[in-house]
């Protein structure tokens, strides 16, 4: 830790001078923290251990999963082959990836405009974005459903049960969610850089694509990832829009397994959950520092 903080202890310790504490004193000062830590880790991790065990259990039922690692096999993973699971996975990845990229590009472009240009309506626009941010899009899912009902009559590809329509709906939420966060980050890039480039003859679009976007790369990664992750787990709009089983996303599909036939499909669900969660978790842990930075700055993860 870089900053010296002795908040909880009250007893200032020189960071370099490691005095060894022993016995009772060690426990009172530091040791109990490890006890709390271990308990907390057990609390945080036991459902995760359980789901791994259930995924590997060859019985595939909820009861059968209760004896942890009693029988280990890959039957559940193999059985996913006979379901729509891989369709759902592909759908989810495609939808979340396109939404993530679209969100980053559109949000960054808007943040650039608000940060670098002075135009009439700028203040109103920024305030409006702050206000819109308070109202999650999913609150209007009934109207979204009805809108797509009407759109589908005109252009079937944009109607209900269309993945493209779902992506468009998600992109509708793009500007409202994290533009403000990006705007703040864009403001930290000195304007002198733009001006220097402008004097060298760069157009505003060149400045945007080749200079600014690189300087704000960390925030782009954060916003893109958070958008990806929240789209990955979005349920209500996906459930309302996607109707045929083949088009479902993982959230809709796995919910179906658990709610319909809890007993019978438990092993399948556990295996699917492991496959679905592992990449997201790894991504999260790997980019922890950046995501956490974004979260504490006010970004949203669904």
């Amino acid at each position: 830790m870089a900053t010296q903080t002795a908040a909880g202890t009250g007893r200032a310790m020189d960071a370099s001078g490691h005095r060894r504490l022993t016995g009772r004193k060690f426990f009172l000062e530091v040791g109990w923290r490890h006890v709390v830590g271990v308990l907390a880790v057990v609390y945080a991790a036991f459902p995760i251990v359980y789901v791994f065990s259930a995924a590997l259990s060859s019985r595939g039922t909820l009861t059968g999963s209760n004896r942890l690692f009693a029988d280990v096999g890959l039957e559940n993973f193999a059985a996913l082959q006979d379901t729509y699971f891989w369709h759902w996975t592909a759908n989810t990845l495609v939808i979340a990836t396109i939404t993530g990229i679209g969100t980053v590009i559109m949000g960054a472009a808007a943040a650039y405009a608000f940060s670098r240009f002075r135009f009439s309506g700028r203040r109103v626009g920024l305030t409006a974005l702050l206000v819109i941010q308070m109202f999650p899009q999913m609150l209007a899912f009934v109207a979204i459903f009805l809108l797509l009902l009407g759109l589908g009559n005109v252009v079937p590809a944009l109607g209900l049960n269309s993945k493209l329509a779902l992506i468009l709906v998600y992109l509708g939420g793009a500007l409202g969610v994290n533009t403000f966060l990006m705007y703040g980050f864009f403001n930290t890039v000195p304007r002198e850089i733009d001006e220097a480039a402008k004097i060298d003859g760069a157009s505003h679009s060149q400045i945007f694509w080749t200079i600014i976007l690189r300087l704000v790369a960390p925030i782009l990664a954060v916003v893109g990832l958070l958008s990806f992750i929240s789209t990955f787990g979005e349920f209500i709009i996906a459930r309302v829009i996607l109707q045929s089983e083949r088009n479902w996303t993982l959230a809709v599909g796995l919910y179906g397994w658990v709610s319909d036939l809890l007993e019978a499909r438990w092993g399948l669900f556990a295996a699917g959950a492991v496959i679905a969660a592992v990449p997201v978790v790894l991504l999260f842990l790997f980019l922890q520092k950046y995501i956490v930075g974004g979260l504490t700055a006010g970004a949203v993860k669904g």
Binding site: A6, A12, M13, L21, R33, V41, A44, P47, I48, S65, N66, A96, T97, I105, A109, A110, A113, F114, F119, I132, M134, F135, M138, L139, A140, F141, V142, A143, I144, F145, L146, L147, V154, L168, G173, A174, L175, S203, H204, S205, W209, R214, A221, G233, F235, I236, V240, L254, V258, E263, F269, A270, A273, A277, V280, V281, F284, Q288, K289, L295
Partner: protein, 544 residues
Amino acid sequence: MSSPQAPVAHADAPTAPPSEPTGRRGRRLSGDSHARNVTRGFVLKLALMALVNALGVYVVLAAWAEDSYGILWAMVALLFAANYVYFSRRAIAMKYILPGLAFLLVFQIFVVGYTAWVAFTNYGDGHNSTKQDAIEALLVQNERRVEGSDAYPLTVVQQGDALGFAVLDGDVVRAGTAEEPLAPVDDAVVEGSQILEVPGFEVLGRDAVLAQQAEVTALRVPVSDDPEDGSIRTQDARNGFAYTSVLEYDEAADTMVDTTDGTVYRSTSDGTFRSDDGRTLNVGWRVVVGAENFVTAFSDARYALPFVKILAWTIAFAALSVVTTFLLGLFLAMVFNDPRVRGRKIYRSLLILPYAIPGFLSALLWSGLLNRRFGFINDVLLGGAEIGWLTDPWLAKLSLLGVNLWLGFPYMFLIATGALQAIPGDLLEAAKIDGAGRFRTWRSVVLPLLLVATGPLLIASFAFNFNNFTLVYMLTQGGPRFADASVPLGHTDILISMVYSVSGVDGSAPKNYGLASALSIVIFLIVGTISAIAFRQTRKLEEI
């Protein structure tokens, strides 16, 4: 995963490769008229705009064909805006805002406005469409075979995927499908009273007809575009009978008349046909009903009590979720905020696992763990106790809070750690020099600073949990059900899941878009008010 944007190590690593300057609509080139610029960027912009215009014009034409003028004009407006913005030299800022703004306008701002409009209508089952559509549907639904009418020799035909009939009317063969009214067909091959070939249609054999018996007997081929002319139907796939509606619509008087018993149904202002003795026809149309939906939510016996309970629980759930997760997260942050504790990085990585897992998976996983008979908690940890964690009204609420605690404490842990570490050490030292004890320092220095730093995030967390549909729906589906309600609502429903159940979009309850939208508006108002007050409050905190 996909879109691996790896360049996190260096702030200047490339995210958007310059060699691929696409964007959504080529912004490579502005109105700048440097000749050297009229190369790749300009061509790209032209190509993208051509594509956008082509798609737009397609939508406009399709909307024209379907008489959807709302979509038509919206699309025309968007196209004009796009072309103006990208080909004008003046609206530079707009070039960057428009793509996001267009989506925002349609899929967020418009839908909110649309929600507000639907909230004041009776849109839903029985009131799905316009009056014109309702009249047609009524005429079609109430068709009876014309008494004593002759049978027409009939053959089942197919056009594309659509089944249809060909009938022999005297010497003329007429053919049509459910969508296409009967029309005379030239050059049909007829032998006796059997139709053998119909140009433009495929005649189905006996086996094919038997295979689709149910579809064939349910098929209705209209005689003409006017539903009052009736239709042809068949029971045996050989003989077709003329059906006409027993209802007659009198346009001048705006009434429906039942020709069998002479009952007159008058059109009413609430979008139905009602007879003088109070009977109504089952298809109505969409009308503006004013504040009726709001009145229903607050005072109708079926909804009012559940609504109040659900509202109270929603607020309690959101508030308690924030408080519990924050307290646990803060506690852990304090525990680990000591440089002498080794392995803090490992602890941290393990502790944020619940947060890293997609929320819907956790909720589903916990619904299994908490299962009454077979769940791990009851079966193993509690030695076979059958505790209804998700089926008892109070325990289900407790379970929701417990699962949300598991889901949410890592986030609070992270932000509390960040906030604690951001408190300058000299402040604490100054407090110590002034003679403040541990507790006093904590209460008067650390806590206020902590709340200033995390306040807005706590409010955001409250707003998020206020609408935490995924968790509630996946864990309990709002259940256990209220005993006293005829509506599909339960003890753990929050407002947003109530909207979902009432709307009937999943087909488990009659659709009532009007009431659902009215409830959405209520949520909008509550969330908006809370956010506004709270943000004002935190700004005050910052000023201190």
